[in-house]
């Protein structure tokens, strides 16, 4: 009994009551939405994490964008000072919004330059629920004679700047072990600016300077960023089929149709040379099912080139970012540069879609050109191969099992359908979400595992139907996932007569070897 009394000092009971009351106050604050609650979170590769919080506006902390920079060195992760430079994507270009040298940078929605961009989006007259745009951020960290530049693209909804305020928190990770550093070298600004050369003969798009001047220039710092923004306005490819010279020469009479089925929210991701995917630059609701007419090689198509579905009146950009350090006593240094390819705007409905042939001067040729000049600098990712070979007897070879024989013989012509693409569905509660929700409800562990209250379902399919396979036909089809190359959410087809695209000596299939069927 004496021990029990000693263990229960006189103050513990009032303390327990006080803590209980305090806990209930905190729960009420949380329940009425006065404290920020996490509503969505996205990871951008290993480079960053974006968390979105809904909350009543906090005192002295206006809603908007907050960038935090962390240095990752081995297993250590710590806040670090870096030069943070923020741009806002407008429908037709980019606008410099804010910059600073710190571990954190806050950019409120009320920022004059950001409001200027928001207004450009509002003037489009498209409902804010139909699309999301993004901010473009460059973070430069300097240590000794090395520097690291990290480009990130942060999606957001313009409605958040007008009503329903959100706190967008970006945790950027400068991983000095995995991101390639640049050498800090003495140089004058402008000496290494990239001058992007475009094909002189082009149609279907116009090129222009998309570095839009902000109403209020950001303050001067020792860091001098320089932007080259090359904008393109016109036909943004939705999917395409490319035919080599060999196919035109050898496979006369071959017929094909190119079809697309997109439904739901479609994301266009930004790509940076050397980094890959750096976040979704634009997303919109798209809903359509379209089939092309039947094209016959030799009659409708007479030259090597591409046939493509496009979004009319879309804009996209190549942004080259270079940063210098200018100091009166130390001199001027070039810290590094980064190149970003991003889609700025795509009309959000099916009134602006069409199909066109590109014999070397269209938008598909431009994409190939940019990839060949290493402005995108990312390898193509072939997801499937198929071959049709007819030497008196017909053979069909397939790789990943995505080729299906879709119809019964129609005369002497067979039709094959290649059906890659994906279905992304997120609705209802998964067993894992239900489990974590149960733990959260029963053991009072905060917001652990509470699922988001949003649902979405999207479908993207592209497929090609090939017919007119007669004796002498040799056709090699390579299916490329171009989201890994250009950030465009689609699959495209490259048709060759002698081998698969890139002339592989052996074909690597995800699920096995090339199998002969039929």
């Amino acid at each position: 009994m004496v021990l029990e009394k000693r263990l229960k000092p006189i103050w513990i009971t009032p303390l327990v009551i006080a803590l209980a009351v305090a806990s209930i106050v905190v729960l009420v604050v949380d329940g009425v939405g006065a404290s920020p609650s996490l509503i969505a979170s996205i990871h951008i590769g290993g480079f960053g994490e974006v968390d979105y919080y809904a909350s009543q506006p906090m005192p002295n902390v206006p809603p908007g964008l907050l960038v935090r920079v962390f240095l990752i060195n081995g297993s250590v992760i710590e806040p670090v000072d870096a030069f943070i430079d923020v741009y806002a994507n407008a429908p037709n270009g980019i606008v410099h919004v804010s910059m600073g040298y710190s571990t954190t940078l806050i950019v409120p929605f009320s920022n004059v330059n950001w409001q200027y961009v928001i207004n450009k989006w509002v003037l489009l007259g498209v409902s804010s629920s139909e699309y999301e745009t993004s901010m473009l951020i460059f973070i430069t960290y300097v240590r000794g004679n090395e520097s690291w530049i990290l480009p990130l693209v942060i999606p957001y909804n313009v409605a958040w700047a007008i009503k329903n305020p959100r706190y967008i928190v970006v945790n950027a990770f400068i991983n000095v072990n995995s991101i390639k550093p640049s050498e800090v070298i003495p140089a004058m600004p402008g000496t290494t600016a990239v001058n992007l050369q475009l094909p002189s003969n082009h149609s279907d798009y116009t090129a222009y300077n998309c570095d839009l001047s902000a109403p209020k220039p950001p303050p001067e710092t020792a860091f001098k960023p320089e932007i080259t923004c090359l904008g393109f306005n016109g036909s943004l490819p939705a999917t395409w089929v490319t035919l080599s010279n060999g196919v035109i020469q050898n496979d006369e009479g071959l017929q094909f149709e190119l079809n697309i089925y997109f439904s739901g929210t479609i994301n266009w991701d930004a790509m940076a040379a050397g980094y890959g995917d750096i976040g979704t630059s634009y997303s919109a609701n798209e809903n359509w099912v379209l089939s092309s007419p039947t094209y016959t090689i030799g009659s409708q198509i007479t030259q090597p080139g591409s046939l493509y579905w496009y979004y009319e009146n879309a804009t996209w950009a190549i942004v080259n970012y270079t940063v210098w350090f200018v100091n009166s006593s130390m001199g001027t240094y070039h810290l590094g540069n980064a190149t970003v390819f991003e889609v700025l705007y795509v009309p959000p409905n099916d009134h602006y879609i069409g199909m066109v042939l590109d014999y070397g001067n269209g938008s598909v040729s431009l994409l190939y050109y940019l990839a060949s000049r290493h402005y995108l600098g990312y390898p193509s990712s072939i997801v499937n191969y198929a071959a049709f070979i007819y030497t008196g007897q017909e053979y069909l070879y397939q790789c990943n099992g995505l080729v299906i024989n879709a119809s019964t013989p129609s005369g002497t012509v067979y039709v094959y359908v290649m059906l890659p693409g994906g279905v992304e569905t997120a609705y209802g509660l998964s067993p894992a979400q239900l489990s974590t929700t149960l733990i959260s409800l029963s053991l009072g562990s905060g917001g652990l595992g509470m699922p988001p209250s949003q649902t979405s379902a999207s479908v993207t399919s592209t497929y090609i139907e090939i017919g007119g396979i007669t004796e002498g036909v040799n056709l090699y089809v390579s299916v490329v996932n171009v989201s890994g190359v250009y950030g465009l959410p689609t699959y495209v087809f490259i048709l060759n007569a002698t081998n698969y695209y890139g002339n592989p000596t052996s074909v690597t299939c995800k699920y096995g070897k090339v199998a002969r069927i039929g």
């Binding site: 905190v26 509660l429 959260s440 509470m450």
Partner: protein, 186 residues
Amino acid sequence: MAIKSLFWFFVGFVLVSFASSLWLLLSSVLTVMPIPLPYWLLYTPGNIVTAGIIVASLMLALYAYLGVALVLNKMHRGFIPITMVIAFTIGITLLLVRQAIPALVILVIAYVILIGTYAVLISVTTSRASKALWGVATIILALMPPILIGGGLTVINYIRYMALVEQATAIMASAIEAWRLGTHNP
């Protein structure tokens, strides 16, 4: 019959709840403020899960203590919280090794035994107010899963409110019982 050692269960229940809700508030508010913070303090999904696992472990330790204390006092109903702790531990472990379906089955069983544990708490608490509050918490606890399964994501916000009320009720019930056991010492 009052079991004096249960005092520490109720004190622990309030302390863990307070620490958890304080972390929730501090972390979420500080995260949106433009001040440098260590990464572990940020209100990110990864950190929320880590905090959730810590809170769940502490709660399970408390329930294990409750069960053992009851059994040592010759109250066999103490096996109910002990079984629940074992079930939750197995369920969480299965979840961590990504066995979602078996984890869900075990966790549903654990949840049902948790309702039983609340009933045990009603039976061992000594004050009438505490009994009533545990009773309300038990009813809310029992209602939440059928509503969630019936309504899906459309009712998730109501479920959140119900969970908050349930937590607040359980905290008050514990505080009142701790006060009772702490001040009515022979």
